[in-house]
């Protein structure tokens, strides 16, 4: 029978049914970081359990790591303790740790793919909702809670409910100046923040197929913002080319065997889906958020919604969001002044993101009123960017070029908004307080749009600022 990728990967990793009606699924790759895992090691210890498959778990440190001075001990004593507990726990259980300074450290969802750990057809999990990123390679990639991190450490399996699969096709072509970030923001805006509950999203169609792996990761990364359990893209030649030659990818005969296996996981042409939605690439324009959920978004040339025109409970949501954001109904979003510009995160902190921006900002200057920071997603991204001189272009334009980490995406390190500052951000969440200040305001957009806002001092259309057509 024809099956989609989700069904094939699920079936291949099925250990068996559980009495609750759930299924026990083997986890091919487990990634951990310092925020959600130390407690799980504690739980193992309480139960006297060992890690079942230490060679299938990899650790990195990303959330709490400072991006200006990461020398040890870290200045924040609690951050230092979290890093130390992770270091000790991974050493005690024989788990490989991508330590700062090793050349391999970075945001967990940047590091997995760049090391070639993330491979098509795998089940992947991590105590982090943006694990969905790895779906770009044709994986079932799930964010889990700490108790489940414990389950995976102890058994290398998870108890899982089945999900439905919605195929989201983006057909046609994107207009000049429209990026992967705009596509996913548009999808979330259209289907809603809870539109994906109960679903895995399969992204398909010519626009997706023409995307690079880094763009595909941006798309899958934000599946969780649409409420989906995970998101994935079928593996193809672009996937295989990206993986070829990466450190953890098999070589020689083993590569040939792996390739054959990877290809076999792609959805069959006549596979059935529980739901299908089609978007047209031509319809999508650069998209930014105006509110406090990623679905509260609009095209750059649209006006901020009016609560009076919204029905039911959602009216209160719109009113509250406008209130918090200090924005006015019916006003254009374009021209909204910003205080901070942030380029980074597991959504848009990869080499191509910085490359794209560097080409545009060369010779331009960040507005005097704007504090602008660029934070590479990993030590490898940092190194590659430096080799290309990209850091210098950013610095010449008035950006600070920082050390790798999650940084202002969630502000668990010293990078934070102050008071009610407005941040043009390439990250994935604009929740109240997300960037470290309880009154801070986040406007999500693509890296290119952040650059345009940084240069203009206000939310701007990158196509106009950089003459893209």
């Amino acid at each position: 029978m024809a099956r989609n990728l989700f069904q094939k990967v699920w079936d291949a990793h099925l250990v068996g049914p559980l009495a609750s009606g759930q299924s026990q699924i083997f986890i091919a790759l487990h990634l951990i970081h310092e925020v959600t895992s130390p407690q799980a090691f504690g739980m193992l210890q309480d139960k006297g359990l060992k890690v079942a498959y230490p060679s299938r778990t990899f650790a990195t440190v990303d959330h709490i790591i400072p991006t200006d001075d990461a020398s040890r001990p870290l200045q924040d004593a609690m951050a230092e303790k979290m890093l130390q507990v992770l270091t000790d726990s991974t050493a005690a259980h024989g788990i490989e740790f991508f330590k700062p300074g090793s050349g391999t450290q970075g945001i967990v969802h940047v590091v997995g793919p760049e090391q070639g750990l993330t491979q098509p057809g795998m089940t992947i999990c991590c105590g982090d909702s943006h694990t969905a990123t790895h779906g770009a390679f044709g994986c079932i990639a799930l964010g889990i809670g700490t108790s489940q991190v414990r389950d995976v450490l102890a058994s290398q399996t998870l108890a899982m409910d089945p999900v439905q699969v919605r195929k989201i096709s983006v057909e046609g072509q994107l207009q000049a100046g429209v990026t992967a970030k705009d596509v996913i923001l548009h999808i979330i805006r259209t289907l809603g923040v809870d539109g994906g509950v109960g679903f895995a999203y399969e992204y398909a169609g010519s626009v997706i197929e023409n995307m690079s792996m880094e763009e595909r990761m941006t798309i899958c990364n934000m599946s969780i913002e649409g409420g989906a359990r995970c998101g994935y893209i079928n593996p193809d030649q672009t996937t295989f080319d990206y993986l070829s030659g990466r450190p953890r990818v098999p070589t020689g005969d083993a590569w040939d065997a792996a390739l054959e296996q990877w290809q076999s996981f792609a959805s069959d042409a006549d596979a059935a889906y529980d739901d299908e939605v089609v978007f047209h690439g031509e319809d999508i324009r650069p998209t930014v958020t105006w509110g406090v959920t990623p679905a509260q978004a609009l095209f750059i040339d649209e006006n901020i919604p009016n609560p009076e025109e919204v029905e039911g409970l959602d009216r209160a949501l719109v009113t509250d969001a406008l209130d918090y954001m200090q924005l006015e109904a019916n006003a254009p979003i374009k021209g909204t002044p910003i205080d901070v510009a942030f380029i980074g995160s597991c959504t848009n902190g990869r080499l191509s993101d910085f490359q794209q921006v560097a080409e545009l900002i060369e010779g331009k200057k960040v507005a005097a009123s704007v504090r602008a920071i660029a934070v590479p997603g990993s030590e490898q991204v940092d190194k590659a960017a430096r080799e290309l001189g990209i850091n210098l272009i950013f610095e010449a334009a008035g950006f600070e070029w920082r050390l790798p980490g999650c940084s202002m995406c969630l502000a668990m390190n010293p990078d934070k908004l102050n008071g009610d500052e407005v941040c043009a951000s390439s990250s994935n969440r604009n929740f109240i307080g997300r960037q470290g200040s309880p009154t801070g305001r986040t406007i999500l957009m693509s890296p290119v749009m952040v650059a345009a806002a940084a240069v203009s001092g206000s939310v701007a259309d990158a196509r106009e600022v950089f003459d893209i057509s």
Partner: protein
């Protein structure tokens, strides 16, 4: 985590209004700086409850008449966003034993189940009645009956829904799956071998 069957939970309730309440709001990221979950209860909904100088915003959770509430009532898509188990942990450590909402985000729902906090879904109209009842009389007793999928409050019976596997786990006392998972060692190893992971 002890393993016993849960059929019913009763207690007084408190209503926290709003759709799409995310886990960053339930527990802001700066409180995730910890290596155990023990101290999280006090930080629940911190930025909604307290000003930056630590003074109270007199949020409903801090009103004297709602102290000791054990059932949290909220709206649609509760617990969306970050997968942090710190969120349900904080809810539990604060003293809540069950959540009634319009709907739940999936990772949050799974985390709650594992921790033994039942999550039941109720339509908007009925939630409004519940909200009115607890506003009227904060001591109103609420019974969340998992066996019959009903909530009984102020002499009214409301039908609720619950994910079947979660309900099953509460009734059977198997919300923590670890022992069940570990019992399958041989089958686990067989799958690992078959896929070339071992």
């Amino acid at each position: 985590m002890s393993q016993y069957s849960i059929y019913k939970i009763s207690g007084s309730g408190v209503y926290i209004e709003g759709n799409d309440i995310d886990t960053d709001r339930i527990i802001p990221a700066r409180f995730l700086k910890c290596v155990t979950f023990d101290e999280l209860g006090d930080s629940l909904f911190y930025d909604v409850r307290f000003n930056e100088d630590g003074s109270s915003k007199h949020h409903v959770l801090d009103k004297p008449e709602y102290q000791g509430a054990e059932i949290l009532i909220s709206d649609a898509n509760f617990g969306c966003g970050s997968s942090r188990e710190h969120a349900p942990q904080a809810i539990q450590k604060f003293g809540f034993r069950a959540i009634i909402a319009g709907s739940f985000a999936e990772i949050f729902h799974g985390n709650c189940t594992t921790l033994g906090i039942p999550c039941v879904s109720m339509p908007a109209e009925d939630r409004q009645k519940m909200a009115a009842a607890v506003a009227d009389d904060p001591d109103t007793s609420i019974i969340v009956d998992l066996e019959n999928l009903q909530v009984i409050c102020a002499n009214e019976v409301f039908n609720v829904t619950m994910k079947a596997s979660a309900r099953e786990a509460f009734l059977a006392g198997t919300t923590d799956p670890l022992d069940t998972l570990l019992a399958q060692r041989d089958s686990i190893d067989a799958v690992a071998k078959k896929l070339g992971y071992a």
